[in-house]
């Protein structure tokens, strides 16, 4: 017996949608997947007409699908955006080389201009060199801090003031949980915002805010989009690991849990008397920071001080 798609009632259902449990055909899956992203973009007034937007491209599944969908929606709904691919080369031999190849292929497929900024170009240090210096212990800290800044710097080079990233609903739900577990109310309030602005004029947005990770993989699989597994070779710290497992279990119990958590996160309001750390800017590089020097500059200073002459 052939199961029919519950949406169109015509085609054969080939997949059970992770978000809703509905059995749908390929065409309807594409439609709802893309439309939800479009609705998110429209309802939050994410873009201005003729805006220049950089897609943070890592070569991983999220950013590969993001580039594909953004290109498609931009044409279908005439957003009038000028899209760029922006990629960071951390300088990790083997690991990064392959994913950058993916990004380069994407560039040709989608015919989008690509800018690659490298750690060594920005900081004078590649991740390989940093690992040699500090060992395997703190390299995740370096990488995370440097990457954020590197994207902003790359955007400036492209003369773009809006970066979109492939953060998906699972990432955001996990961050909501993490911020409750860590007691970080400042971040708890900010982490569900679709668009955040640093001190500078560079905005960061997450069009996949309500998009399930499983559906991103599904979309890439059906559309035969090739991506490189960019799962960091260093596992997440144990606390985040617990939160991730918990979220997966929640999703198994009730598929809507991911959206439900984001919905909760959006409703949270912090008491007025609770003091939140004030956001200032780094004295050295001007990047937003709650201390005098931003994390990247502190780390960099430490690296340079320890540099053997």
């Amino acid at each position: 017996m052939v199961r029919l798609c519950v949406i169109c009632n015509k085609e054969r259902a080939i997949v059970k949608r992770p978000k809703t449990g509905q059995q749908v055909c390929k065409g309807c899956f594409y439609y709802v997947f893309e439309t939800e992203i479009h609705n998110t973009i429209i309802d939050s007034k994410l873009f201005k007409k003729d805006e220049k937007v950089a897609i943070a491209a890592s070569g991983g599944k999220d950013s590969t699908v993001l580039a594909h969908v953004m290109k498609l929606l931009n044409e279908r709904y005439q957003y009038g955006l000028e899209l760029f691919l922006l990629s960071i080369d951390e300088g990790i031999t083997g690991y990064r080389d392959d994913s950058l190849e993916t990004v380069k292929r994407n560039q040709q497929q989608y015919d989008l201009p690509l800018k690659i900024v490298s750690y060594s170009e920005l900081y004078g240090w590649s991740m390989d060199q940093i690992v040699k210096e500090v060992g395997l212990k703190n390299n995740c800290t370096f990488c995370g801090v440097f990457r954020r800044q590197a994207l902003d710097r790359g955007a400036v080079m492209l003369d773009v003031d809006h970066i979109i990233t492939g953060h998906n609903a699972d990432d955001i739900a996990e961050t909501v949980l993490m911020n409750i577990l860590r007691g970080d109310v400042g971040r708890l309030q900010r982490c569900t915002e679709i668009c955040t602005t640093g001190d500078g004029c560079i905005r960061r947005s997450k069009p996949f805010k309500y998009t399930y990770e499983k559906e991103i993989v599904m979309y890439a699989y059906f559309k035969k989009l090739d991506y490189f597994s960019t799962e960091c070779i260093y596992s997440p710290n144990s606390y985040r690991g617990h939160a991730r497992t918990f979220l997966k279990d929640l999703e198994a119990i009730r598929p809507s849990a991911i959206i439900d958590i984001i919905h909760s996160g959006e409703a949270f309001e912090i008491k007025k008397e609770v003091k939140l750390p004030t956001q200032g800017v780094c004295k050295r590089c001007g990047y937003m920071s709650s201390n005098e020097l931003c994390k990247a500059c502190v780390l960099l200073e430490g690296l340079n001080r320890g540099l053997p002459k």
Binding site: Q22, L181, R182, V185, R254
Partner: protein, 464 residues
């Protein structure tokens, strides 16, 4: 306390700690108890424990500045935390016999034995405990939430019947189904344990509040301890109840107007409570829940409990950090008294249904409209949907469409309704829910009338 259940096993072996250590409080006595990173002697432990309780209860008394003469109710499940609370409240009220803080203390327990085949009622055991305190005792059976007197008016006998495409308000006929049958049918028609547990908890809460109100109690004490509250903070978040979370986990809330809810145990860990009860010789009773003895993935509540208890073992400040996070949240300024969910009585946000339909697209636009526009109205209901709550749509107005009905629900309850399967056995919601619907309809009607004649009115509503 009348919470789902206090199942946390107490790790008593952690009390026996390095012999040489002295109590951090008195610095002289040998420490026998370890709470997180501090060691205490027995005396100081009890002192600190009772002190935390007094601080909370004083704070709530001062805030309401009711002085003496307040009649209060203790929600008593019989679990460790509510057991300790009963003892602590009675000690507190007897400090100065000539000037009691509470003029009268009533203890209320809701029996849920109906939900567990052939289980004996918990009421006799509970009554025995309460008798020691000489307080009036009210023992209720959860199924009696279907009685017409468990309503605001006290005699409202309509109920809501959930069908495939509508929700009917109709006269309750006791001859056909007993309250027990109605409750069992309702719960049996809920296909998932998460939703079932949620339903049971809010039915209990509504019953408790109603009972407090009818008995003239202006305050209801609930025994949620910090371990329980941190579990609730995570599980409520996971169930999409973030909007009402501050009301459901705070030390005190006046959301129910004439009945203030106070949680004086909010700063105590379940482990501390276990130790206190042991020292004080307080016996608790085992209260079964629908997920007792089940694996951790049985329901969201159960999973969260398992997650937090395990995390707390590895990182002993987990519970206190979560509780502190929760305490920094505040009810939104956009909370409206009239936007009260008719099932759980918690506030709901306006327009969240529209939001939901935008980011979870369940249908494709019909052909005549398929010009790629992004109109909310184009999201149509698929006709063959087996569950009446799969999506929402504006449709013809009969008795009450499911759409109108779900408009009166909070997000969390709407998620629950998706797990209701309309089966042969009727799904009937208790009279208080039906009463809430009629009340809301009346209010909306009045609003409409007012709009109609607004320009002629010379004064506002209250002055009329």
């Amino acid at each position: 306390m009348c919470n789902i259940q206090e199942e946390i096993t107490l790790n008593f072996d952690v009390k026996i700690k390095p012999k040489s250590k002295n109590c951090v409080k008195c610095k002289t006595a040998k420490a026998t108890i370890l709470i997180r990173h501090s060691t205490y002697c027995r005396k100081c432990f009890q002192h600190v424990f009772v002190g935390k309780f007094r601080k909370n209860i004083e704070k709530s008394r001062n805030a309401s500045n009711s002085g003496s003469g307040e009649k209060v109710m203790i929600g008593f499940s019989g679990g460790p935390s509510s057991r300790a609370m009963l003892q602590l409240i009675s000690e507190y009220n007897e400090v100065l016999p000539q000037k009691q803080f509470y003029s009268e203390i009533v203890v209320c327990h809701i029996d849920e034995s109906l939900l567990f085949n052939n289980q004996k009622s918990t009421i006799p055991q509970i009554e025995q405990i309460v008798r020691k305190y000489n307080y009036p005792f009210i023992g209720l059976y959860l199924q009696n939430i279907y009685n017409s007197d468990v309503t605001k008016s006290g005699c409202y006998n309509n109920v809501i019947e959930i069908a495939i495409d509508d929700a009917k308000i109709l006269q309750q006929e006791d001859s056909i189904f007993s309250p027990s049958e109605k409750l069992l049918n309702l719960l049996n028609n809920i296909s998932k344990l998460t939703a079932k547990e949620d339903f049971i908890w809010y039915l209990k809460l509504c019953y408790l509040i109603d009972t407090a109100r009818k008995n003239g109690c202006t305050r209801l004490f609930l025994g949620d301890c910090s371990t329980r509250l941190s579990i609730k903070i995570i599980s409520l978040t996971s169930k999409g109840r973030g909007f009402s979370l501050p009301l459901e986990t705070s030390g005190e809330t006046d959301w129910f107007k004439d009945v203030i809810i106070t949680r004086p145990m909010k700063d105590m860990l379940s482990k501390e409570i276990g130790i206190y009860n042991q020292f004080a010789g307080l016996e608790d009773i085992y209260i079964q829940s629908v997920t007792s003895m089940m694996h951790a993935k049985a329901s969201i509540e159960r999973l969260t409990e398992d997650f937090i208890v395990r995390l707390e073992k590895e990182f002993p400040s987990t519970v206190s950090t979560i509780a502190r996070t929760g305490a920094k949240l505040t009810p939104s300024d956009y909370i409206l008294e009239e936007n009260r969910c008719i099932i759980c009585l918690m506030p709901y946000q306006e327009n969240n249904k529209i939001w939901q339909n935008r980011i979870i697209v369940m249908t494709i636009p019909s052909l005549q409209q398929s010009n790629g526009c992004s109109n909310i109205q184009q999201l149509h209901c698929s006709k063959n949907s087996k569950n009446p709550y799969d999506c929402s749509n504006v449709s013809n107005d009969e008795s009450m469409t499911n759409i109108e009905f779900t408009d009166l629900l909070c997000y969390g309850c709407r998620v629950n309704m998706r797990d209701i399967k309309v089966a042969n056995n009727k799904t009937i919601l208790p009279p208080y829910v039906a009463e809430g619907v009629e009340e809301k309809k009346k209010k909306d009607n009045r609003k409409q009338m007012r709009k109609h004649i607004e320009e002629y009115l010379l004064c506002n509503e209250e002055e009329l």
